[in-house]
Symmetry: C2
């Protein structure tokens, strides 16, 4: 098929009529599908049911370091859990601190801590006139929501194929001491699926920010969330790179088992330098007597070790792969060559990122909703919900079944086509 841009107005109008008929037909199927979030499917949750069986009333509920996991205490997590999440995070066990059920919560608390207490002796951010954050875009809406909630000014930085535009990052952080951090999803980025190149990681490790309390918020949410066994992105381990660059305190790594075991009932961790961990613990010791150690033990007993977790992730991949492939197939078949959209083909993570013609994203999401398909709100992948070109749409294929996805993808491509024609006819 010819690109839409090469069609005459008459051809576009005729096409529109035909597409509207098709849209009416799929709309009539009465789909009601929420694809707005990166939610695991029921089949994926079933994979982890064994988690409910590893601890019994008569089980030994003592960790290998001799802690009765049923009682108070142990601020930084039981040894076995520290070891497991350190391995997952590719850092030594001494570099890890276990938290509660969600890494988002750890990130929020870390920003909140910086606001009230600063980092490692710096001025609390709430005492400063202006605090800014760099936000690679498109990115994760919940990251941006946290910084917005704390009144932190956000600056868009383009996310390239290799990661954030490092020329821009270096220039901004070295010249502006009010820039205190950057949000990063370094692997299978949300939503583009981009993984940072080795050079990007090294340039991050060598950053020389004007602000001493500048931190890279490294949300390694999809570190082991591959779709294929034979094609995987690998990224450099940043904490080690920072240590080698004599810059150990610049990064805070966040990780969790949310999309490994159960979202909401997993365990989360912070990996960082000795100084950053001590700083975090100084806060944590007032915040809690300790996190849920039974859930830590449950995860340790269920996965055993990192090998066990890798095996488990293969089962997730087997469920997710056909879903991603289904969406790719429909996009390719229906939109390939039309010049009205581009999309990413990630090797892992939870999302496909779609870029429409400029100024069409909001209308496409609204059109899809007409037919019962709820997608992530257009603009959500940008700070303040404002996509300057109104073109980015996050597709989250994990939750629906493959059958539902077939229909959802049809609705989506029809919406893209119809909105694009309207734009071209203007």
């Amino acid at each position: 098929m010819k690109p839409y841009s090469q069609l005459t107005k008459e051809e576009l109008a005729a096409l529109k009529k035909e597409l509207e008929k098709q849209f009416k037909e799929v709309k009539a199927k009465g789909l009601k599908l929420d694809m707005s979030r990166g939610k695991p499917s029921k089949a994926q949750l079933d994979l982890s049911c064994g988690l409910m069986d590893v601890l019994k009333g008569d089980s030994d509920l003592v960790s290998s370091d001799g802690v009765d996991c049923r009682n108070y205490g142990i601020l930084d997590g039981i040894f076995d859990a520290r070891k497991l999440l350190a391995d997952m995070s590719e850092v030594p066990e001494r570099s890890i601190l276990i938290y509660g059920n969600s890494s988002l919560n750890v990130m929020f608390d870390t920003i909140s801590r910086a606001m009230t207490h600063g980092f490692m002796g710096s001025t609390p951010w709430s005492k400063l006139n202006k605090v800014k954050f760099l936000c690679p875009v498109p990115g994760y809406d919940r990251h941006f929501a946290i910084t917005e909630f704390f009144g932190i000014e956000m600056i868009n930085v383009p996310l390239l194929e290799t990661g954030p535009d490092m020329d821009m990052v270096e220039s901004l952080v070295s010249s502006d001491a009010s820039i205190k951090g950057i949000w990063c999803v370094p692997k299978y980025s949300n939503p583009t699926g981009v993984s940072y190149s080795d050079e990007t990681v090294r340039r991050f490790a060598h950053l020389k920010p004007a602000a001493k309390d500048f931190r890279i918020f490294w949300d390694n949410a999809y570190s082991i969330h591959h779709l294929y066994e034979d094609k995987k992105d690998v990224i450099l381990e940043i904490l080690n790179e920072c240590i080698k660059a004599d810059n150990p305190d610049i990064v805070l790594k966040f990780i969790s088992t949310s999309k490994v075991s159960f979202p909401g009932s997993g365990i989360a961790a912070l990996a960082a330098s000795r100084g950053n961990l001590a700083d975090a613990k100084k806060y944590m010791q007032f915040q809690t007597i300790g996190h849920d150690k039974l859930n830590q033990l449950r995860h340790v007993r269920f996965f055993g070790d990192m090998q066990g977790m890798f095996e488990h992730m293969k089962k997730h991949a087997a469920i997710l792969r056909p879903k991603f492939e289904k969406v790719q197939e429909v996009l390719e078949r229906e939109l390939g060559g039309l010049g009205i959209g581009t999309w990413t083909k990630p090797l892992g993570g939870y999302f496909i990122s779609f870029d429409s013609l400029d100024g069409c994203a909001k209308a496409i999401v609204a059109k899809a909703k007409e037919a019962g398909l709820v997608m992530t709100g257009a603009g959500a992948t940008f700070p303040y919900g404002k996509d300057p070109r109104d073109r980015n749409i996050r597709i989250a294929p994990s939750f629906p079944t493959v059958e539902e996805l077939e229909l959802a993808a049809q609705i989506f491509v029809l919406s893209v086509k119809l909105v694009s024609i309207d734009k071209l006819l203007k």
Copy 2:
């Protein structure tokens, strides 16, 4: 035996010699016992082992309101858990918000929230020159540690037999708008065991603070933690009193199952007015996608309802009662009538509060440590760790066995006697 104050210097000196011999003997037994915290004993933890059995891999993991507890979502907790903790908190289900594993964490986060965002539209406390809190003393060290950590100035208020000195509370909060809160453990108070009288609760409900964002931090940590079935303290439910007094937003009630099921692996909740809950949720929605719903479901399935929880608490009482009675017995037998100490006889909670002669508490705790008995640091029950009369000592009888307690109590009373004699001989 005669009160020590009526003994001559010679009699005291002779007595000291004899007591030093006894101390040497108990010291030789080589006890190593940590009685510093209100930690449940192993036998108590065993009571809740069934918690590990109620959810299995093939269990129905859907809550009664149709939520798959394994997946993301449900910010305010599953209905069944809200109902259970509402009942525990003696409020309607609409007045409750479920949190994570610890009410201390909820209190910390609430103070942190007030610092960065204020309450219900008030100026964030971090933007104010001075923020003060009232602290009934003696009280809970972890409360005081939180306010100290956030740079909040603490003002001691005497805790009377009926609760905090309400004349003082009323006069202070009505005249000083920088006073933003008060820490309360209204039932079986930590450490005195005092429960607030109905009049105290009503006066709290009718407070007219100068600060609109003044809040009563009502930590009902021991709401159902009775020692006796036939003798129980009952306190007025404060949220309802506040509503009746047209003052619904003044109180924040905190509760958890920490000393009901497993400390660190329980569930916690905030009970408050509609306005306060909406305010808390506005914050929470950025902090997390949701708390651990499987643990909520686990608690619901294990306890069933409030009746189940009450029955469970009777088993705790059966274990704790002999321990409290053992300590009371030794204190009465060894110190009764000597005029060198007074102590509380609570009907519930986790502590016995001991007041020595002025200026002796630190020395007594140090003396006991010499013989291997670690107690809560003297002063810990006061803001900044400063007991102005250096006399209050918190006794935590829950963790040791009755046999260990016999020996521990002996060490304690010998320490009290020896230090008191030194004081009288000065």
